[in-house]
């Protein structure tokens, strides 16, 4: 049973054959495709189709939204016009996007995290969520 399937159970999300497969595909994402994997719906649909070709893309859309609302996966809207997803881990991280290659690197910086909270409070708000994306180019080594 995949990690995401377990989380569904824990959160009382009803499981079906389709959802189990999508859960598995999402769970396998980084293991199979590397830590930079952030598949979009179309890519997910291709992957689940290779397991069960009857799963419609509408179901992928519905399931991915369901998982996201349950706090099981995370949705990203990088500057592309379509959403990308990744399993939600305990350790939060932000993203650096290579604007030449599209490569995505994950990073954490505790100091920045703290400062965000501080800024919010200074403005009279309680921080609920945030998005930090760095768009950058690779430094050439000579």
């Amino acid at each position: 049973m995949s990690i995401i399937e377990e989380k569904c159970k824990a959160k009382g999300v009803r499981l079906t054959e389709q959802r189990r497969i999508i859960a598995k595909v999402m769970s396998d994402s980084k293991q199979t495709y590397g830590s930079k994997d952030h598949p979009d719906v179309d890519e997910l649909h291709k992957r689940v189709s290779s397991i069960d070709k009857n799963i419609s893309i509408a179901t992928v859309y519905r399931t991915v939204k369901l998982f996201e609302e349950a706090g099981i996966i995370e949705r990203h809207d990088f500057k592309e016009g379509k959403a990308r997803y990744e399993p939600l881990t305990d350790e939060h991280h932000d993203h650096l996007i290579d604007i030449n290659t599209g490569e995505i690197i994950e990073f954490v910086d505790e100091e920045i995290e703290k400062l965000q909270k501080k800024v919010s409070e200074k403005l009279g708000y309680k921080l609920v969520d945030h998005k930090l994306e760095l768009y950058a180019t690779k430094i050439k080594k000579n």
Copy 2:
């Protein structure tokens, strides 16, 4: 002549009657609607239509993209599925979005800015652009 129209001239962006009007509407944005103003294309189209009702929404789309690529205005993709725009100022700022009301507050934090640069360099990248959005709820005062 509006500020944005001036910038177009400076950058050699060809001007037309429609573009002048859209430039003016964008230039007036914060003065007229407050510092929280970040109109989407539909809203912009309404505003320009009140000046010249023959301007099509396609032209607004084309012009807004043109201005953005020329580095004259800034495009934001908050979590809504449609783009919002604001004039680009010399002083960069980030956004805090009130998830209950949709209100947008602008802020700057030099320390966070510096840290972002540092993080990028540590990863072997040169920071070109970034996006920081804080999603938060207002703290009730008792």
